[in-house]
């Protein structure tokens, strides 16, 4: 085995560092899924009648749908009756200060490196921390509410701002959209809601941290972001899950509405537990994310760093409805060991002079499979639409796969659509170049991979960029300095 092979093996056999289980007592719903469970969740959350009806409608719809089989991923049949659909940490009394927070939860956050105390002190990032489906503590809510910004858990929003929820819930991802969106609509337990009023520029980055804790629970959170005319918000989402043997399902829905001249920047760092080296355990991450540029000159930007999950299957999309609206998608997807990822985006151009950019970087190692699947659709009336897509894949081993499935549908002659994709491995000459300059092979690979991802990392907010680099370092075990 050559030096390089050894490093590659080391790189591709890293263990999950965040696999710890918090001993917080959970308040679980019984296993299985039926209308009673939907009613149970709704009652638990003290939801109004219309929302229960909405859930039930989605549930009945879901019963009629079949699980999609077209993605380039393989997994054993999911038993939807073997999942706990509701799990909340038990001590649910109102907290007045951070000191009242369950010390176990605090410790969990400390391990995650997002200490709420520190966050507060730095007064930089507002965190809506979600452990298993219920929002534990929303920080900075008061500071934000002075500006009229609503940033709270989804269940609070249902109680406090039902008119907004009623107006926007399901407006971008209708409950009948797809199998997992329907499932989520029926059983979603919590999530985040964010509303930025007209002309307000959110002064800080909003952040949610999701964490799946209980065994055998699915995480079905729902995020809804609405940016009114001329508003701006940068939203961060991070995810981790403890190490468990069985596979856990995560089927979230994220909806973004961007009104005239508004801008929403949504960043994700996802490091759910990917399963062990033999593909045992790990999260099934089947997520529907979609934004709509409703108004003219609006913008939605997705940035994602996907390093975790046994199976990732998501396509953050933008519907460019308003004239001159802009959609962006920046993605780094790292798969290792037995991980599978089928991810990409959809850019639906409906308005005139709409523009979209897609930059996707796939890195596959071990025996993993990494697919980019994207759709660029230029509608008949989308005059002078513009799209540029670039999808690069990097292969780190001879047993992994990298695939590209772009769909380009152009129905307007004034459109300009460009797509390019390359697949290669880390060049021997590149490593040699680094070696010559005194950089050992391990560091050289880190350097090259990091440089390869830079285009996407540059899009991340500062704090996240640092975390993303750290994650990449762990995914590529020790090769990055």
């Amino acid at each position: 085995m050559t030096e390089q092979d050894k490093i590659l093996e080391k790189v591709t056999s890293g263990e999950y560092k965040w696999g710890f289980v918090s001993n917080i007592e959970s308040d679980n719903a019984p296993k299985g899924l039926n209308e009673d469970i939907v009613r149970f969740i709704s009652a638990k959350k003290n939801e109004p009648e219309w929302l229960l009806e909405w859930r039930l409608k989605a549930f009945r719809n879901w019963l009629k749908m079949t699980e999609p089989k077209w993605p380039n991923v393989h997994y054993p049949e999911i038993d939807f009756q073997d999942i706990i659909y509701y799990s909340a940490p038990k001590p649910k009394k109102q907290l007045n200060s951070l000191d009242e927070l369950d010390p176990e939860i605090k410790a969990t956050f400390d391990k995650l490196g997002i200490s709420l105390l520190e966050q507060k002190r730095l007064a930089n990032v507002a965190v809506d921390a979600v452990i298993d489906s219920v929002s534990v503590k929303t920080t900075f809510r008061e500071t934000l509410s002075e500006l009229g910004i609503i940033f709270c858990s989804f269940s609070d929003a249902v109680q406090e701002h039902p008119e907004l929820i009623k107006k926007y819930l399901g407006s971008v991802v209708p409950p009948s959209d797809n199998y997992y969106a329907a499932l989520n609509s029926a059983v979603f337990s919590d999530g985040s809601f964010c509303y930025i009023p007209k002309g307000v520029r959110c002064p800080m980055e909003l952040s949610t941290y999701f964490r799946i804790n209980s065994a055998g629970t699915g995480q079905f959170e729902r995020t809804l972001i609405v940016a009114d005319e001329g508003a701006f918000v940068s939203y961060l989402e991070g995810c981790t899950a403890p190490m468990r043997d069985e596979n856990q399902l995560h089927a979230a829905v994220v909806e973004i509405v961007s009104h005239e001249e508004a801008e929403v920047k949504y960043s994700t760092v996802q490091n759910w537990y990917p399963g062990d080296k033999n593909g045992k355990g790990g999260i099934y991450n089947f997520v529907t994310k979609r934004g709509i540029c409703l108004g003219n000159r609006s913008k939605i930007s997705w940035t994602q760093v996907e390093t975790g999950s046994a199976i990732t299957w998501k396509y953050p999309s933008v519907i460019l409805k308003g004239d001159n609206s802009v959609g962006e998608f920046y993605s780094v997807a790292v798969t290792n060991n037995m991980q599978q990822a089928d991810t990409g985006t959809k850019m639906i151009h409906l308005g005139k002079n709409t523009r979209s950019t897609i930059i996707s970087k796939g890195i596959s190692g071990g025996k993993s499979d990494n697919s980019y699947r994207g759709l660029v659709k230029i509608h008949k009336n989308a005059h002078h639409a513009r799209n540029f897509s670039q999808c690069d894949s990097l292969l780190l081993g001879d047993k992994c796969g990298a695939h590209t499935f772009p769909y380009l549908e152009v129905h307007n002659k004034s459109a300009r659509v460009e797509h390019e994709a390359t697949t290669s491995k880390v060049g021997e000459d590149q490593i040699f170049y680094c070696n010559q300059r005194g950089i050992d092979t391990e560091n050289a690979i880190g350097l090259i991979v990091n440089g390869y991802c830079k285009e996407v990392f540059n899009q991340l907010p500062m704090e996240f960029a640092v975390e993303a680099q750290k994650l990449l370092a762990i995914s590529l075990e020790g090769s990055v300095g």
Partner: protein, 442 residues
């Protein structure tokens, strides 16, 4: 095939009925041929006609286009006053084989059976059973509906064989004339090309509709098997009527050090679907695949290509160019598949499109599936329109708008045309492009 959706059952049962009648006439021939037909028939009855839910036929709704019923034509003769020279792409130094609705027409064909090169209908080749090994050996009837359908009607295919070390001095020109004056005829032309070690041959296969022919459907299959270090230049030219539905399945199998050059030119037709499959089965294979499609009006052209890199150290290069006018619809799907063992593969693919009119559309899907790590693969696809600046530049120099447009489109398609090794053919095709562009609606 469990995941295939059986299409319009009426047309499938209609075709199968015809096949039963056909078999009762021809089954007295060689037994092995009959076995092949039965396999084809079974595969087709299982798959039926593809529906749009089938991913490979997502943008081409062929079941809808085909309609209800087809039958085998009864007349095979060339109508009077037809000059064959209209159909010849090349004049000098060629061997011409004429097929009407997939049936050879000896009185119009040159037969070539020599020491080195054979180009004749299977019935004329005495030892045609030696092609038993090759006929149907690369056509994928279990996955390609119309390949299966063609195989079910297999009868007297065109056989081209070049012996070891022979460089065929003549270009072999196969002219397919399609359609009859009665309604809804169907036909199934079949060609087998085999080059032995170190051989070379150039083949031009062209498809035309007979004048005054009615709605018809043609499912052609061509199999090309290249032994070590051999070389085939293959041209496909399609100029059928606006009431003809044409599907072609072309299969290449390349052995060590062999080289293939294929050019697919879709000029006219109601609906054309070309499936080109290239298998690089041994080291150092080299495949070039190029094409031009120019649909106009209501025409619908669909090109699917698959380059399967099975062995290491192979090279493939693909360039397809399309210009769409009227309310035409073009589809391109290019797949490059690199298997686990195919290290050191170089595969390039490019697809460029120009939409001339508001009603025209293009759906393109360049696809890479890669399982080996030491490869260099890239693909690119663009869709756009003529460059306004370039147009203005030409017009400022006194060139009329139409002419300026034609000039730019000619230059655009010329890039693919320049890949053609045969200069005479290049000029012939350039002329065809020019003529088509002048009638294309903006």
């Amino acid at each position: 095939m469990k995941n295939k959706v059986i299409g319009n059952t009426d047309i499938v049962s209609g075709i199968l009925d015809e096949q039963n009648e056909f078999t009762s006439v021809y089954s007295k021939g060689q037994a092995w041929l009959n076995e092949l037909r039965i396999a084809g028939k079974n595969a087709f009855s299982e798959q039926g006609v593809p529906k749009f839910k089938d991913e490979e036929w997502k943008y081409t709704h062929i079941a809808k286009a085909l309609g209800e019923h087809y039958h085998l034509p009864h007349t095979y003769s060339l109508p009077a006053n037809q000059d064959l020279s209209n159909y010849k792409l090349l004049d000098a130094n060629t061997v011409t084989l004429v097929y009407i609705n997939g049936i050879p027409v000896p009185e119009l064909s040159d037969k070539l059976i020599s020491e080195g090169v054979t180009a004749a209908p299977a019935s004329d080749v005495e030892n045609s059973s030696e092609f038993k090994t090759f006929l149907g050996s690369v056509a994928d009837i279990s996955n390609h509906n119309f390949s299966a359908c063609n195989t079910a009607f297999l009868n007297n295919p065109c056989i081209i064989n070049v012996k070891a070390g022979v460089q065929s001095p003549k270009t072999i020109q196969i002219i397919h004339l399609l359609g009859t004056d009665d309604n809804d005829s169907m036909c199934f032309p079949r060609t087998l090309i085999h080059t032995e070690k170190g051989a070379y041959v150039e083949v031009v296969e062209s498809y035309y509709s007979l004048p005054n022919s009615n709605q018809n459907f043609c499912a052609a299959v061509t199999e090309i098997i290249e032994e070590e270090n051999s070389h085939v230049d293959y041209y496909k030219y399609e100029d059928v009527s606006d009431s003809t539905i044409l599907t072609t399945n072309t299969y290449f199998k390349l052995q060590r050090d062999s080289r293939s050059e294929s050019f697919t030119f879709s000029l006219n037709g109601k609906l054309i679907r070309n499936d080109l499959d290239i298998k690089l089965t041994a080291e150092n294979g080299h495949a070039e695949l190029h094409g031009i499609y120019l649909p106009n009006g209501q025409q619908h052209f669909d090109n699917h290509t698959l380059v399967d890199h099975i062995s290491p150290h192979c090279y493939s290069n693909e360039l397809y160019k399309g210009v769409m006018g009227g309310s035409a619809h073009a589809v391109f799907n290019g797949k490059v598949y690199v298997r686990r063992d195919a290290q050191k593969t170089n595969a390039y693919q490019s697809n460029n499109n120009i939409l001339l009119s508001d009603e025209a559309q293009i759906d393109t899907k360049p696809q890479l599936e890669i399982y080996a790590d030491d490869v260099k693969c890239s693909h690119g696809a663009t869709t756009g329109q003529l460059d306004d600046d370039a147009l203005f530049y030409l017009r400022a120099r006194g060139i009329g708008e139409n002419e300026a447009r034609n000039l730019l489109v000619t230059a655009f398609s010329g890039e693919a045309l320049n890949e053609i090794p045969n200069e005479t053919l290049r000029d012939v095709f350039a002329d065809k492009i020019h003529r088509k562009l002048s009638v294309m609606s903006h």
